[in-house]
């Protein structure tokens, strides 16, 4: 088999974002007729109004909720921020004013909550260990009638870990707290049924689901108090101001209508991912897989390749046409070890030797075979160089 083809670009970073669905790409010109403002009363507003209505309906059906419980946003980060700021404002003068989250959340959760902490919020951060177990005893200890909101992600972007949201939601509700889940990474990878999960809020992003960037949706259960983050012209029933991103919403709606394919793809991708992991472990020594034995997304593999610098590995693979990641995509510019991996209890060295491979709907068997062979040769070469350079850099040698 051919190990490298300089011109083949192989994308294995579907947790960062997904390419546009090919059927959707073909349909894009159809949107052009819906250029009007959905708030307009005249004829030009009719088409776009229909786009909003039908997309909302399709997404609601896919998620098993009611259309009016969905609010379109600019993406997952805005959805998360909206929930926290709203709950914070509503709770600041009440007895129920504490937040509980995990250490493995997306920065749009952790940074927003740490900002609210500076404004006076009480925030408890529950850790998850390297086997994938949530620290339940800590959770039980801090969960109280003072808890306003529990926010835990459905699936982690770096290791693919799936948290038992229903169980957590049941505990939260038993003490009267609301439950939010950041489900951005789960949508499109596993079926997401919000009525089964029984959460009060959930965040989603379209671009992780073969759709366009700049569009997301916030689920807020009927009866919830929700204050807008963005005030404006009364769109989204006064819950989110600003003229709607009709193109993004239209595309999201199209993908939601294909939600029935998720389970089928999940099974196919899961087999590819398992093969990837088995082959890597059979052919490359000293590899561990983070959260290998925990419930995981079917597409994600978080590898620790001992003695290999993840940053260098990523570049070496990129030069050969393979797009993978060392952690969250936003950290690729400045390669500090991933805080999420460190929080699991991985050492700095392990975190820095981590590589995230995430598969998607267009991933093929050949691509995975190709990747395994390339990874093997690159890792062998980098490890050999490591031994060659074992005297260390001139800086270390000079001391």
């Amino acid at each position: 088999m051919k190990i490298e083809n300089k011109f083949a670009k192989i994308y294995l970073d579907f947790n960062a974002t997904t390419p546009l669905d090919s059927g959707l790409a073909l349909k894009l010109p159809e949107f052009l007729q819906f250029w009007g403002n959905p708030s307009s009363i005249h004829w030009a507003g009719q088409g776009p109004k229909k786009v909003l209505r039908e997309s909302r309906k399709a997404i609601a059906e896919a998620l098993q909720v009611s259309p009016l419980e969905l609010i379109f946003t600019s993406g997952g980060s805005e959805a998360n921020n909206t929930v926290f700021q709203s709950v914070f404002e509503a709770s600041r003068n009440s007895q129920r004013n504490e937040f509980i989250t995990t250490a493995i959340e997306h920065p749009s959760v952790l940074k927003c909550l740490s900002h609210l902490q500076q404004l006076g919020a009480v925030v408890h951060v529950i850790s998850v260990d390297r086997s994938g177990q949530l620290d339940w005893s800590h959770f039980e200890k801090v969960l109280s009638p003072k808890t306003a909101l529990v926010s835990m992600m459905l699936a982690n972007n770096e290791t693919g870990l799936v948290l038992p949201i229903r169980e957590i939601a049941d505990r939260a509700h038993s003490l009267g707290a609301k439950m939010h889940t950041d489900a951005v990474q789960a949508l499109g990878k596993i079926p997401v049924n919000l009525s089964d999960l029984d959460v009060d809020f959930a965040s989603f992003s379209a671009h992780k689901f073969y759709s366009l960037k700049g569009c997301g949706v916030l689920f807020s259960k009927k009866g919830n108090e929700l204050r807008p983050l963005i005030f404006g012209g009364g769109q989204e029933r006064h819950r989110r101001g600003g003229t709607e991103n009709t193109l993004g919403i239209w595309a999201f709606g199209y993908m939601a209508s294909k939600a029935s394919e998720i389970q089928k793809q999940a099974e196919r991708i899961s087999a590819l991912r398992d093969r990837l992991e088995t082959e890597i472990q059979n052919h490359i020594p000293q590899v561990t897989i983070t959260h290998a034995h925990a419930p995981r997304l079917p597409n994600t593999s978080s590898l620790v390749l001992a003695g290999v610098d993840g940053e260098t590995l990523l570049m070496s693979l990129d030069v050969k046409g393979f797009a993978v990641s060392t952690g969250a995509a936003c950290s690729s510019g400045s390669p500090e070890p991933s805080p999420v991996l460190l929080s699991l209890g991985l050492s700095r060295e392990e975190a820095q030797s981590s590589l995230r491979v995430s598969l998607g709907w267009s991933t093929t068997f050949e691509q995975i075979e190709n990747f395994i062979l390339t990874l093997k040769s690159v890792v062998e070469r980098l490890r050999a160089l490591q031994i060659q350079n074992s005297t260390g850099s001139r800086l270390e040698a000079s001391r």
Binding site: T312, D318, R394
Partner: protein, 362 residues
């Protein structure tokens, strides 16, 4: 099947020289990969401030846009911790010990020609290229060695004396055979650089604020206060004034001494033991010999040979007899030299060939 093109890792700062270097390599048919070392935490920097020096975040963006224009892969390498240990910390320490440091040499020693050499190997590159004004020429034995640029005014070999001889064959200096105006012309023709920039002069991480301010920002004020002392007249010992810290002075300095005096006086010597800054007439600045330590050689030097020696970057070079010592070299200048400064390097040349050098100690 065509033969595999040699692959080059090119260090790109976003400035004119390294951008043209990358463009020339692409023209010559190399398989080029660009990289920028992120060496300083920009979040604490004023965005405006870094403009025009080699380490501001804007420059990383500029380097990336040059790489985009050339259609080459581009990576940002995180070197902040290494840069702090290898460049910033010794820089601060030197000033507090009355020396005038040369951080660019440390950056070359530990980052550009060590860290990047490692990245070059890891990325399966055959060469590492930079925008330095220097040339690679074989010596009489056919070994690749470093020679001065054809642009005598821009020549940067002074900063390269610590390069390990065995890596020279892996180096490319694509603009080293050109003169600066030619490089600028190429850059203009190719419309490579987005922002208009001045040449990077001075020290990249200090920026426009000056090194005194930089030191005050980085070092605890209590430690700086311990470096206050008096200015004395050389050789009489007469106290002329008090000063706020020896890090404000450099050998040969005559402006900003913080005292009014009818004659023009120069810093002759800085004594870190007593924090005394000695000032005096210009003639006391001249020395006819100097010792260097931590010497590094790129090629053979004969004991007793007369070579050209540069004692600072802007120095034209002066003939000196070279004697090997236990710790390095002893140079006897044929003509006395002005303001021989500890912390700077004395670098040896035979004709245009860079031979090596060491650190000036008095």
């Amino acid at each position: 099947m065509s033969e595999k093109k040699p692959r080059v890792l090119v260090a790109m700062s976003g400035g004119v020289d390294s951008s043209v270097a990358a463009a020339l390599l692409v023209d010559q048919g190399y398989d080029v990969i660009g990289a920028t070392m992120q060496v300083w935490d920009y979040s604490s920097c004023d965005i405006e401030e870094g403009n025009g020096t080699c380490c501001s975040s804007l420059d990383v963006d500029d380097a990336r846009s040059v790489a985009d224009r050339l259609g080459i892969p581009f990576y940002v390498l995180n070197c902040e911790a290494k840069f702090k240990t290898a460049v910033i910390d010794p820089f601060l320490k030197a000033y507090l010990e009355g020396q005038t440091p040369l951080p660019c040499v440390n950056c070359n020693t530990y980052l550009k020609f060590d860290h990047l050499i490692r990245k070059m190997k890891e990325l399966e590159c055959d060469y590492l290229a930079t925008g330095h004004y220097a040339q690679i020429v074989p010596n009489e034995k056919g070994e690749a060695r470093i020679f001065t640029s054809t642009d005598d005014w821009k020549d940067q070999t002074y900063f390269l004396f610590t390069i390990e001889p065995e890596i020279v064959k892996h180096l490319l200096f694509p603009v080293g055979h050109l003169k600066k105006p030619e490089v600028r012309k190429i850059e203009k023709e190719k419309e490579l650089v987005v922002a208009k920039k001045k040449d990077s002069q001075g020290i990249c991480f200090v920026g426009n604020k000056g090194y005194g301010t930089f030191i005050e920002e980085q070092v605890d004020s209590k430690i700086l206060a311990q470096r206050a002392g008096v200015i004395r007249r050389y050789p009489s010992g007469e106290t002329m004034a008090e000063h706020a810290g020896i890090h404000h002075f450099t050998y040969g300095q005559s402006k900003g001494l913080g005292m009014s005096h009818h004659e023009k006086l120069f810093v002759i010597k800085i004594d870190p033991e007593t924090n005394t800054v000695w000032v005096g007439d210009e003639n006391y600045l001249y020395r006819s010999n100097v010792d260097v330590v931590d010497a590094h050689l790129i090629d053979q030097v004969e004991d007793g040979e007369i070579l050209e020696v540069k004692i600072r970057y802007a120095h034209k070079g002066s003939k000196a007899r070279v004697k090997k010592t236990e710790k390095g070299f002893h140079f006897e200048f044929l003509e006395p030299q002005r303001a021989v400064t500890p912390g700077q390097a004395a670098v040896m040349y035979r004709g245009r060939q860079l031979l090596g050098g060491g650190w000036i100690t008095l």
